[in-house]
Symmetry: C2
Subunit: 430 residues, 2 copies
């Protein structure tokens, strides 16, 4: 965190919990040669941050407590920043976490003019606070905002705001007494203008919250963020059980927006997800087209390891047709596999149909499969139900495949400071 990003402590009584009402800070307007006044369109600027301390902070729940599993407990503060098409970005505000006020006509409530990011911050084994590749998240957020007609911003300024929230709430919420734990950050942008016309948003709110999150990466939490562990089906084998989607249920489409982290990719997937849960599966494996190309698992990227032509390959769907999310975990896995496992493993990004996965399983050439994302992290897959039959997927180490385990260790070491790496961005506490 850049400490200069935080303005001197202010505590305005006007700034309530609903406090998205702060005054828009404008620099002086300029005057054109013919005397017209040009309004200033302000850029997002973390150095203008205003701080209102939460005077009623709450207690931090115990790790893995039922409260944490609700995924609803946020830290004491949140960052908010308003935008209008005429003035640009107002001064960001770090303020007590609390409800937002929206008019019933607000665009986001009708037209899904919303996007978000998901990243974590970690309490390292060296007791430092770290983010993992936050620049990837802030750049992706800009892509998502653009796809859904929300305003642009400088990603580095968003990163500074994220770091500020981590710096302010990190010490209490991710205490040094709990090394090896994390909280989940959710930068969000919504269109707030109160007008029913289907039009490009004229007002928006950017906000960042930090939420207590269960560790899905434990024996009790293998079903990922999309489920409540309490409702999780009892299973004979560990690992995710996936239900392949049918042709009548499609997550994303060429020319659509599958690559963007916009709300419109999530709500419409819940029916299929609910059906999968009701049938005892953990997630949907999203297929696309007549060839049943494999795309994503739930809201995570999907990988297989198979042997083909005498080689061992790590295979995942490509980004170029914009169907799948450009996952930060996905990118990191691919890069580490290329750098560190290149001798063993060929890394392949290409379209592949379910029939190839079936053939590999049939021939005994399928070594493992896993889902990967920020919420899930790396989750081994133990079966895929496709066209009426279960494809059993080996897990060589009992609860995971070999490469999922190796890659998870690489990443965990960077996240928690066991390995010094440029991807682990240390945040200084206040």
């Amino acid at each position: 965190m850049a400490p200069t990003a935080i303005a001197p402590f202010q505590n305005s009584s006007e700034l309530t919990q609903c406090g998205i009402k702060h005054t828009i800070t404008k620099t002086a307007p300029s005057i054109t040669p013919n005397g017209d006044i040009t309004p200033v369109i302000n850029e997002l600027d973390a150095s203008k941050l205003v701080f209102t301390r939460n005077l009623s902070p709450r207690a931090v729940p115990e790790p893995d407590s039922p409260e944490v599993w609700t995924q609803s407990v946020c830290t004491d503060h949140m960052v908010t920043c308003q935008w209008t098409s005429t003035s640009g970005w107002a001064a960001p505000h770090i303020q007590p976490y609390g409800p937002l006020q929206l008019m019933p006509t607000a665009s986001v409530l009708h037209y899904a003019t919303e996007c978000f990011e998901g990243l974590r911050f970690y309490r390292g084994h060296d007791l430092k606070l770290r983010l993992f590749r936050p620049d990837r998240n802030t750049r992706r957020m800009l892509n998502s905002a653009t796809r859904i007609s929300l305003p642009a911003f400088e990603p580095d300024e968003l990163q500074k705001l994220i770091e500020t929230l981590v710096a302010v709430d990190g010490e209490k919420w991710l205490p040094k007494s709990r090394p090896g734990t994390f909280l989940y950050l959710r930068p969000t942008m919504i269109a707030t203008a109160a007008a029913l016309g289907v039009q490009k948003p004229k007002e928006a709110l950017l906000y960042i919250i930090a939420c207590c999150f269960p560790n899905f990466d434990t024996p009790s939490g293998t079903t990922g963020p999309s489920s409540n562990s309490i409702q999780q089906s009892s299973k004979a084998r560990p690992g995710l059980k996936l239900l392949a989607s049918k042709e009548d249920t499609v997550r994303a489409w060429p020319g659509g927006f599958g690559y963007a982290k916009v709300g419109a990719n999530y709500g419409p997937s819940l029916v299929a997800q609910g059906e999968a849960k009701a049938r005892g599966f953990d997630q949907v494996l999203w297929l696309l087209g007549k060839d049943c190309d494999v795309t994503e698992a739930g809201a995570s990227n999907f990988f297989v390891v198979w042997r083909i032509g005498g080689k061992l390959q790590l295979v995942t769907a490509p980004l170029d047709d914009k169907i799948i999310l450009d996952g930060v975990t996905r990118r990191s896995i691919l890069q580490l596999a290329r750098e560190r496992l290149g001798g063993d493993l060929e890394v392949v990004e290409r379209k592949y149909p379910m029939s190839e996965v079936e053939d590999a399983a049939e021939d005994g050439r399928l070594l493992e499969a896993f889902a990967a994302g920020t919420a899930f992290f790396i989750a081994p897959v133990s079966s895929i139900h496709f066209r009426g039959k279960d494809l059993e997927i080996p897990m060589s180490e009992g609860v995971t495949g070999k490469y999922a385990a190796i890659l998870k260790t690489y990443l965990t070491n960077i996240m928690y400071g066991r390995e010094d790496h440029e991807w682990g961005v240390v945040v200084n506490e206040r």
Copy 2:
């Protein structure tokens, strides 16, 4: 309206403008034979309605005033009704129009768990208030809610709630001194539970608002609800100018949710819409697939009238592949055309590619085209820009084609009570 649907006047000071906090009314829980208590899941029930009068009502804007063009002025009251997965529907509440409070983690702000309806109410030339086929809207809202995993409800109860809002605010907001005018109704449902898990909503809010809306069906308003008339490009010819979508921009796809009135169909369309506007067009004509099948225009259904094989045909895209919205105006046009124009006009619902529209235009067989929807009503189309060239579309009556004009008259007569018809549902004022 069923007057019995309104409970005796209550004015609770606890029920503020943000007032979505009313107590959930439960009927007594039942006890199973083995002694377990079964919680009661309440159905949506308009007869439980609670009324909090707005003590600070606002002035009604002049028709077609700039305020009306903002599409943000709502009437004095709104209906709200909360739902939870454990208790079902609470007592509906008609209360002062005002902001909603949502937690920053609310599902609707992240996952587009939202759906809505659009319908109008009319002050007839006979001075009565009318809705137009509200049963079609309430049934469609149930379909949309189901598609986006929001809770089910009895459509007739929603209709009663809509009628109640019309009855309460109609006299003041659509006064008898303004026959031939209308207001726009927006029933909306959003998932409100404050939890970041990507999961089926556990809490929801249904609300109904009534908004002053410009009459797009005037010379100053031909560009439809998706634009601000002030920003409308000056045009040589009246009628909508459409820009055909390219293969890299798809509104809806097979196995998706194009048929449902969910937010996820709207936000993602804004980039293409913005590009169309910037290039001087009014709306996007959404095409699908390699054959460039014609689907919708903007957020409206699309119709052509052409001559083929010696017959005159009214043609529109079919509902069966669930790509297009099952428009109430669309259905009504098709039915009236079959009933009243069947001698002249064959009514056809089928897939048709842009090449057929081009061929018909080339041969002089294309007679007219129009968009149709609740906000737009029936809007004649004067040109389509497709693959680098403008397809000029005849408008036999100068500002409209012949059949668009006839169908519009039929519908207007029903809406404003010049024709007594079962589609015009009279609402008694309080």
